[in-house]
Structures are given as structure tokens and as C-alpha cells.
Amino acid sequence: MEMKERLKIPRQPMPEQDPQVRKRNFDEVPLGYTPETAKAEALRCIQCKKPECVEGCPVEVDIPGFIALVAEGKFIEAARKIKQTNALPAVCGRVCPQEVQCEVRCVRGKKAEPVAIGRLERFVADYERAAGEVSIPKIENKTGKKIAVVGSGPSGLTVAGDLVQMGHDVTIFEALHAAGGVLVYGIPEFRLPKAIVAAEVDYLKKLGVKIETSNVIGKVATVDELFAEGYDAVFLGTGAGLPSFMNIPGENLNGVYSANEYLTRSNLMKAYRFPEYDTPIVRGKNVAVIGGGNVAMDSARTAMRLGADHVYLVYRRSRQEMPARIEEIHHAEEEGIELHLLTNPIRYLGNDKGWVTGIECLQMELGEPDDSGRRRPVPIKGSEFIKDVDTVVVAIGAGSNPLVQSTTPGLDTNKWNYIVADEETGPTSREGVFAGGDIVTGAATVILAMGAGRKAARAIHKYVMSK
């Protein structure tokens, strides 16, 4: 096809479940490309000589390379091309913020819309999996080096996938009973089906990665004991798994959840399928979700799917400052989530049985910029009001879980108890101990954690091979 014609192809939309239907089910919202739409979208890529999109990708996927294969209809080859640098394409195609990474740099976006890189990545990964043609690269030259990876979230899975392909003997230790970290406990089924995470984890196992679930490092074994057992290096990717609360009155009332608990019950424990699954969850009719990030959106949309009549998203700043992806806010609003912006809770009201019955809020206005560069929300005097709610989900961020830091002498941490590690290559203050992902940066994104894992894997390889 001539370039002129290719430039005329519009960005291919991805069909989605109807909002009125999907707001009451847990099935995935976007339905994915067909081979035809994928090829059409791929033809929009003009194959830049110096592709800027790749520079925007934390794991440096050969984006023009895989898209060229899609345009030719070579979908399986395209998937394998991505997997050379990204072990989790089906996940990344779904949850990466492409609009601020690869797609924002796409030259097509300057005059028209950027190439839908994320949708194409998702398409080829799903195509390969559905075709049952997932290939396992042969690993040559075993090094005989043993590496322990603590945590099986995005950074841990990436480190493990990279190191096993370099010929090392890799074991992941996961505290929960299922591998995937935030991909299984945090991100809901309707955004990231758990069967996809399981398939990507299974791919790593086929590469030779050993996964020890239900092993809490810091409890059943310390980092020092891992070295004593013969591991040559340890990677810590324990994530930001400590829920933040606002410390306002009534926060321990029944029906007030941390987002971590609410989402873990629903996602990991499958409480949305209670009583088929044993773990219960409160199915509120009037639910307030506090926060404006992706986790708040996930919580609000989960509450709607659990049968709420009203879900209020309470955020203290304005829409412009919301950290959530625009697409997620859009999806949430389509599903009937009611945004209460410039609103801040000051206390929760309860009944004599200890259940939450209401939330008292203050209206805010934007003042001078704060440390984050965003305009600071300032309370408006006398603007207090009460809303009746029976469930609250506090989604205002997460801190670092101290289990590993507190049991590893000599491991430096900062004032928020995150592990101090070189963000480029991951070494910590302890020899042979590397760290990456949210436990170093604080709560961020899946792909940034994967990028940290990628860099740490190279550094770990260099370290163990020079020993």
C-alpha cells in the first residue's frame, strides 16, 4: 500500500462492552482488535528511521519492528518480537499508560492521532496465546548462578524472565498464594483478566523460573538466610503494599476499607463470586471511594459491579490534577461513577453497631502550587456537608511494606522506608542485594516497575558473572 493511502487510514477504535451492561459484570471492558483492524492500524505506522516511540518505552520494545510484522499479518512473529524485550505483552498492552510513554512520542500524533501501539501489543499477545503457539526459547549456557527474587509483581517477573534467559537459576518467593503481585490482587478482572496473568506467569515457569508461593521473606527466611542457602544475588521487588489511611475519625468503622483490602478481596480472593468463593465482601448500595488515582477508579468500578446504586468518587483536587489515566476516568464516568471533585472527607459517621452511615466532607478550592507542582487544595470555610454512605474505600495511596527492610541489617532505606537503590541499575547498600519497582520509587506503574526490573537484571547478571 502506498504511503499516501496509509496516511489516510484513521486510528482504529477498539470495541468495548456497553457501559450499561459492563457496569454489572466483571468481564473485560475492551474487546480487542480483529486481525483486520489490527492490520489496518499497523499500516498507519510509517516506520520512522529513528523511532521515538521506542525511547518512550521503559523496556525498549522494538515497536516499529513488531508493527511491521502485524501489517504483514505475521501476528505470532510480532508477538515473539515483543517478547525479546518484554515478557508480559498481554499485561502491558492492557495496563501501560501508552498515552504518556510510547504513543505520546508517535510522529503520527503530531498531525493526527498516534498509532494505537498498546492495542496492537495486546492483540498480538492475545493472538499468540489463543493460537496455542507460545514458543519457549531454548536457553543455552547455564551459568550455575542462583538468584532469589522476592515478590512476583511486575518488577520481579521481569527480573526473573530476563535472568533465566541469561542462563541463571531463578527462584521467585511470593508472600501470597498466587503469583503476579498487584496484577492479581490489585488490578480488577475487568481491566486485566487473571487468566492472562496466569498465562504470562506460566510462560516464565516454562522458561525455567521456579515460583515459591506462600513464602514471606522476612518471616520464613531472611535475605541473609537466602545467601546462606547458596543464592548469589537477591532482588527485592516487594512493592508498595502498605495501605495509607487519612487518620480521620471513624476510619475503623465497619464498612470502611482500604483499597488494598477491597480489591484484594474482590480480585485475589474472588469475593465478587461469593458464595461460590468463600471470601465475603460488603456489597454497599451507596459507596464513597476516596482518591483520584487508578486504584480509586478500580475500586469505584468494582463497587458498581458489586451492585451499588451510587458510587461517589471523592477527590480533594480538580479533574486536571487527577493522577488516574484519562481512559480510566472516562470508563468510570460512562459506568455512572459520580465524581465529587474538590471535596475532602473529614470524618466518618457510624451507628451503634459500629457501621459507617455517612461521610462528612469539606468543599475545597485550589490555592498556590505545592511541592508536587499541583495547586494545593484549600478548604472552604463553613462548606461542610454530610452524605449518606454504607461503604467507604480509601484509595489515597500506599506505602512500603517493612517486612524485608526490618529483617535485613545494613539495607539502607529513606525516610518513607523505601529501599535506597540506584534507580538505573538497582544495587542497594548491601552487596548482592538489588531492588526495584514500587519498593524503591513509591507507588508507580506496572511498566515502570518492569523497566526497573529490566535494568536490575542486567546489573545482577554483571554482578554474579564477575564474582
Partner: protein, 284 residues
């Protein structure tokens, strides 16, 4: 990791003991710590205090009371069966040191978790008085085991069918605190929340430091979710990682009782369904 059941024993009408093959946890656990287990794929994660361990044999003992579906299911497993997941040891170990005279109080199935603490207190050189109680004689468990690690022991029953007629808190007050014969340096109490609350009300009067072990609702038990939060001394703490033991005089028991009742309806629904299925001879 999964864990095989090596032995099973029924201790009273609703209380069972399982000995599990769990060498890694058996080696690391200390008095006061707990495990989280999951029986099957659809199962919930339930925390249970470790009653005993044998690091040489690699075994771990748990003792539990049937209170709902998961514990009912657990009680029906047999030696040779396996638990799908077992994780631990979780929580902070009991702070054990020689301080003088320690009273270890266990109510109902709470005797099981108080046993390893009693043993540790005794081994540390303390003079140990044990008070164990239950509603009636048949529900008293581990009397011999407790006797073996105590210098004195009192058994109480609410209905007077055995030992002291009354509650453990009454026995403690009447026999020791009121008489003042022996200076009590510390009390450790584990049992139903109303029992621990009543006991703390008594020891507060006499200003005797009292440690309680709380059994809150948990999910991950690694400090990630906050389901188990409890107010202690006006501050929110997580039972799973900050506890399970706290200064009983600082615990907000009213909040704890409320929070333990969050899922009462769902738990009942689940259990009734399970029992109905069992009666009809179907799996649940």
C-alpha cells in the same frame, strides 16, 4: 506452599488438633506467632495461632474450633490430606523474659495459643500460674499439657461442672489479686474477646500489666490490607504485623467486637449452605 496433615485428633465437641508437615515454618516459629491457611481453590485465607511445633520432626500443630464453613471443612480433613496453602510464621513473637510471676490465662480454644507462651515463660525462668477455663467440663482442652509447663494451675468452668465455678477473670481476682499473697508481675490472656475484656477490666483495677493476643479478621496477614486494624492506645495498629499481642489495657474492645461481626451474615449463609450440602451428601 501446601502442607500435608500428619495427624488429626478431636479434643472436644468442636475443637480439633492437626499436626502438619511444615518443616520451614516449624524451624522458624516462636511462641505467639500464627499461620494463614487455605484449604482449597475457592477457600478463604484463615489465620490460626500455632499451638506447638517440633523443629526436629518438621511438624507444626494447630488447634481450632469449628465456627463456620472453613473451620468445619478443616475439621473434616483426615491425616494424609493436604492443605492447599500454608504460610507463616506470621506476626510478632511474644516478648519473653524473666520478670517473676506470670499468669497465663486461656479461655476455650484460647488455651491452644496460650500453651506455647506458657511454655516459653516457664523456660525463661518465670514462676508460672495457669488459669484455663471453658463453659463446661467437656470443653476444657490441654489440661495435662498446661499442667506440665505450669507451677500452679486452676481450671474453671462457667457451669461448675469441673474445677472452679466461674469465669477465669473471677478466679484470677479471687485467688490471686484480691488475696495479694503473690505479687503478679504480668498476665497473658487469650480467649474470646468478651473474656479478654472482662479480664482486662479486672487487672486494670489492680494495675497488673496484661497482654492479650487478638484474633481479628485478616486477608493477606502481611500488613497489606488493613482488615485487621484495631485501636490500641488511641492509635490504629495492624494485628497481623504489629501484633497479634497488645497491651490489653489499651485495646478498644468495643471496636474489636464490632469489627469481628462485619461478615456475620455472609459467614452464616456460607456455613448453612455448607451444612445443607453435607446433609444431602454433596460436596460444598
Amino acid at each position: 506452599m501446601s502442607a500435608k496433615i500428619l495427624e488429626k485428633q478431636q479434643l472436644s465437641e468442636n475443637v480439633f488438633k492437626l499436626v502438619l508437615d511444615a518443616p520451614k515454618i516449624a524451624k522458624k516459629r516462636k511462641a505467639g506467632q500464627f499461620v494463614v491457611l487455605r484449604i482449597h481453590e475457592e477457600g478463604e485465607r484463615i489465620p490460626l495461632t500455632i499451638a506447638d511445633a517440633d523443629p526436629a520432626k518438621g511438624t507444626l500443630t494447630i488447634i481450632f474450633q469449628v465456627v463456620g464453613k472453613s473451620t468445619a471443612h478443616l475439621s473434616e480433613l483426615k491425616a494424609g490430606d493436604s492443605l492447599l496453602d500454608l504460610v507463616g510464621p506470621m506476626g510478632q513473637p511474644t516478648h519473653v523474659e524473666k520478670i517473676g510471676t506470670v499468669v497465663c490465662v486461656g479461655g476455650g480454644v484460647g488455651v491452644a495459643p496460650v500453651y506455647p507462651i506458657t511454655q516459653a515463660m516457664k523456660n525463661a525462668g518465670n514462676y508460672v500460674i495457669s488459669i484455663i477455663g471453658a463453659r463446661c467440663k467437656d470443653l476444657i482442652i490441654m489440661e495435662d499439657e498446661m499442667k506440665a509447663v505450669s507451677d500452679e494451675i486452676i481450671v474453671t468452668t462457667d457451669d461448675g461442672t469441673y474445677g472452679y465455678h466461674g469465669f477465669v477473670s473471677q478466679a484470677l481476682e479471687e485467688k490471686y489479686l484480691m488475696t495479694g499473697d503473690k505479687k503478679i508481675d504480668m498476665v497473658v490472656a487469650i480467649g474470646p474477646v468478651p473474656m479478654m475484656r472482662a479480664l482486662c477490666d479486672v487487672t486494670k483495677k489492680y494495675n497488673v500489666h496484661t497482654v492479650v493476643s487478638l484474633n481479628s479478621i485478616m486477608v493477606d496477614a502481611t500488613g497489606m490490607c488493613g482488615a485487621c486494624r484495631v485501636t490500641v492506645g488511641g492509635k490504629t495498629r495492624f494485628v497481623c504485623v504489629d501484633g497479634p499481642e497488645f497491651d490489653g489495657h489499651q485495646v478498644d474492645f468495643k471496636e474489636l467486637i464490632d469489627r469481628q461481626r462485619i461478615y456475620l451474615d455472609q459467614e452464616k449463609q456460607c456455613y448453612d449452605h455448607y451444612c445443607t450440602c453435607r446433609q444431602q451428601g454433596k460436596g460444598a
